[in-house]
């Protein structure tokens, strides 16, 4: 078990360092932060002064080594835009993002999974077709289009809800619904497919033939077996809790990590972008690890395989 955990942690560290290196190289090769942050009209002397102050005039490998050494010491750098610690800038935005993504995740799970199960259990019925049409529409319509449609309806036409900003809980409703509906549609599709596959398995027929009540067959046999692909998708959704609302945060002027990332990429605010990417990579790696562990809980065959391997 220890070896398993150690190898996973090593793989995670490798993944994270690759992400950091890739981001470092791409960001530095694609634009000069000094020119971008100082603006097109900035006097050349000011741009030069900025570049020198931030060490951007050093060779790229020198910059990379200093950056990586600093990370190893727990220093994620400072924002070139306003001089504050990147980690402070990022962590102070996390609550705002979670205020959207956590309720949205609840909507995705609370709406998507039951809808998928219901559609599978009523395959080819009118209800199934309606659920699937809505689901296909839900995940094919880009979130910024859905967001704008919701704003037009609920903010502009009906005047029930604010169109953007972060001043009260009412401001969160439209972005949460926008995020939630798209994700629920994805989950509904996957859950339905997984359920249909399981419902066609011989052990379901066997259980039914033995006279097990249908409800018990579904709850006791079909659902646990159909849970694995669904848990995988939910794992990805949990992994993207931190930076999964980039577009929606921009559409609704919500000051979360996604907005910070967009602004930081635009400004080539290197430390901030790298800090966000690091955080996202860590979150994704952790959620994948949790999903792996959940597989073992959900599927006895995987537990058995693990024991045999040990």
């Amino acid at each position: 078990m220890l070896r398993f955990v150690a190898s996973r942690i090593a793989r995670a560290a490798l993944t994270i360092s690759m992400v950091v290196t890739f981001a470092f190289i791409v960001l530095r090769m694609s634009g000069d932060p000094a020119q971008i942050i100082m603006g097109a009209d900035a006097p050349p002397e000011a741009v030069d002064a900025f570049r020198t102050a931030w060490g951007l005039d050093e060779p790229i490998w020198v910059q990379y080594l200093s950056y990586f050494w600093a990370i190893l010491q727990g220093d994620l750098g400072r924002s070139m835009r306003d001089g504050r610690d990147a980690i402070v800038l990022v962590t102070e935005r996390i609550p705002a993002t979670l205020a959207l993504t956590l309720p949205a995740l609840a909507i995705k799970i609370g709406l998507g999974i039951p809808a998928g199960i219901y559609a599978a259990l009523h395959r080819n019925s009118l209800a199934d077709r309606i659920v699937m049409v809505v689901a296909v529409a839900g995940f094919t319509v880009p979130s910024f289009v859905l967001g704008l449609l919701l704003v037009l309806l609920f903010a502009v036409q009906l005047g029930w809800l604010p169109s953007g900003g972060q001043e009260s809980w009412r401001h969160a409703i439209l972005p949460v619904v926008t995020l939630g509906l798209g994700g629920a549609a994805v989950l509904a599709r996957f859950t339905r497919s997984a359920m249909l596959e399981v419902l066609g398995q011989p052990f379901i027929r066997t259980a039914s033939a033995k006279g097990v009540p249908w409800r018990a067959v579904v709850v006791g046999h079909a659902l646990p077996n159909a849970a694995i692909p669904t848990v995988t998708i939910i794992g990805f959704m949990v992994g993207s809790l931190i930076a999964g609302a980039v577009v929606v945060e921009s559409v609704f002027s919500w000051p979360g990590v996604g907005r910070l990332l967009v602004v930081a990429v635009g400004n080539r605010d290197l430390a901030v972008v790298q800090c966000v990417l690091l955080l996202v990579a860590v979150t994704m790696v952790c959620s994948n690890l949790i999903v792996d562990l959940l597989y073992g809980l959900l599927d006895p065959r995987l537990r058995g395989a693990a024991r045999k391997a040990a």
């Binding site: 100082m38 603006g39 097109a40 900025f50 306003d82 005047g159 604010p162 900003g165 002027s253 907005r259």
Partner: protein, 534 residues
């Protein structure tokens, strides 16, 4: 406190509330903008862009003001009068009784601070400038780029002399007829010396600089919201709004939707194609006008094809500026007479003409240059400038119509556009005249020590010579002649750019709010320019 007083206190508090509310009936105005601050500070030298120019005048003022609501002429600001003891000296008489947001009176000491330690750090205007401070987080030494902007704005400044409590002298090392205009720039805002002394570090101060403007910065949440409260001791009268709330809304559609839904009273940065969308609703209107910024196509004359001036001249004759203005700007901006603005006053060359739209002449020049359709690259950003992509596509077709093969290459940022690599030919650029003189316009972009020279896109020895002479010249007739020669070189003989049109800034607002838009980026919510419920 007696028991009766104790019992009466809550009742008094309840009764007092409406009285407090009634004391200030002025409205709270909400303005949606695309961006609040590029640097997350409001110190003008650190925010030299349209984003900063929009807000500066609300909280900080200069000794010499600019009348942005009329013709951008220089007007008394924090100084009531000024005179020239000699060509290198400007003496200003300060307005008395002006109060900073911290309640202190503005004096000559604050002026000396604003053009001294605040702008140049402890080493002063002529110091070595070796600041290595990272954005002023650790000390009060201004960041290196602030000092650089200060030096660029006041290149000849030797010292500020305090004559008395209300009189100061700017002493330049060299004669400079544009000193009044330089003093009028936002970089020259007068800020409170004591507030600076009380601040924890430069960054803390730069986030809430204490000035004399009609509003004071009360709260700033980066990338989210900026709140300004009325400065009731403002020397120009009581501000008409109790509070200004600027909210950052990056998407145009979200700003317009928020305006329609009643969340915002104003929506800024409206592109021309949205004007009809807004005005279709009778409760709203779009105001705006040409501003002190000129859009242009810029050439890299080191490109093998563009090295021949005849090709560049042909490109200029192929552009129908009127059509661009009518189609992309709904006719709501103007075509300047070359790289100059009417606000240049005595320096304005009223008889100057742009190269005319003349496809036949363009074709003739191409034949003469033996041009055979070699590709000319055009590095393009995705709408950094308003309608930039559409403008480029139309221009490419205009060039194609005369036989020019201009090929668009999309780029992500200015570094990529100006990168000194093969394939740099044409690009978009603009030129802001930060005050009414060629020194503050064309010569900020072209000539010695400018971006064009630094990028090695365009240099011309005669241009450099005349530009240097113009900067130090004090005789107005000679200055006009030098400016004319500069335009002849840069627009006709050895074209560096093609003037397109003046940029324009548009702001959508409720019709029942009486407000005038400025002839520049600045937004004015001062006394006399805002009435809600009109």
């Amino acid at each position: 406190m007696h028991r009766r007083q104790l019992l009466a206190a809550p009742a008094l508090a309840v009764l007092a509330r409406p009285a407090v509310a009634q004391a200030d009936q002025r409205p709270v105005v909400t303005i949606a903008v695309q961006k609040l601050s590029n640097s997350n500070t409001f110190e003008p030298p650190r925010e030299q862009s349209n984003v900063g120019f929009r807000l500066h005048g609300l909280y900080a003022e200069q000794l010499v003001g600019t009348d942005w609501l009329r013709d951008a002429r220089l007007v008394p600001g924090l100084a009531t009068a000024w005179r020239r003891p000699d060509a290198a000296t400007l003496e200003l008489t300060l307005r008395q009784g002006v109060r900073f947001h911290d309640g202190r009176e503005m004096t000559a000491e604050d002026v000396a601070f604003s053009f001294g330690e605040r702008l140049f750090g402890t080493r002063g205007a002529s110091g070595a400038g070796t600041s290595t401070v990272l954005a002023g987080t650790n000390s009060k030494e201004p960041p290196a780029e602030v000092i650089a902007v200060g030096r660029r704005t006041y290149p000849g400044l030797d010292r500020i002399e305090i004559v008395d409590r209300y009189t100061v002298r700017f002493v330049n090392r060299t004669p400079d007829v544009t000193l009044e205009g330089r003093v009028a720039q936002s970089v020259g805002a007068i800020l409170s010396r004591e507030a600076f002394a009380a601040a924890e570090n430069w960054l803390a101060w730069g986030r809430i600089p204490v000035g004399t403007g009609p509003y004071r910065i009360a709260e700033f949440r980066p990338d989210t919201m900026l709140v300004m409260e009325a400065h009731d001791a403002y020397w120009g009268g009581r501000p008409p709004a109790r509070r200004l709330r600027f909210v950052e809304v990056p998407e145009v559609s979200a700003r317009v939707n928020g305006l329609f839904s009643g969340e915002y009273d104003f929506a800024c940065d409206i592109p021309p194609d949205q004007i009809t969308v807004v005005e279709r609703n009778s409760r709203f209107e779009v105001l705006g006008s040409p501003i002190n910024n000129i859009r242009k196509f810029s050439f890299d004359k080191t490109h093998p094809v563009l090295a021949d001036a005849r090709i560049r001249r042909a490109m200029s004759h192929a552009i129908d500026r009127r059509m661009l203005v009518e189609t992309l700007w709904a006719g709501r901006t103007v075509i300047p007479r070359g790289m100059q603005l009417e606000s240049y006053g005595a320096m304005y060359l009223a008889d100057w003409e742009n190269p005319r739209f003349d496809p036949a002449e363009a074709r003739r020049l191409l034949r003469e240059a033996n041009y055979r359709g070699e590709p000319i690259p055009y590095r393009l950003l995705n709408n950094y400038y308003t309608s930039q992509v559409a403008n480029a596509q139309i221009a490419v077709e205009m060039w194609r119509a005369v036989g020019l093969n201009v090929q668009i290459e999309m780029r992500e940022n200015f570094t990529q556009v100006t990168a000194r690599t093969p394939g740099r030919g044409v690009r978009d650029w603009s030129n802001t005249s930060i005050f009414g003189d060629p020194v503050a316009g064309i010569l900020r972009a072209l000539g010695p020590r400018t971006e064009a020279e630094r990028n090695a896109e365009w240099t011309n020895p005669e241009f450099d010579r005349v530009a240097t002479a113009l900067e130090a010249e004090t005789d107005m007739e000679r200055r006009r002649a030098q400016f004319r020669r500069i335009l002849e070189i840069a627009e006709r003989e050895d074209p560096c750019y093609i003037v397109l049109h003046q940029a324009a800034a548009f702001t959508a607002k409720r019709r029942d709010i009486a407000w005038r838009a400025a002839n520049g980026w600045a937004m004015n919510f001062g006394p006399g320019n805002l009435r809600v419920g009109a």
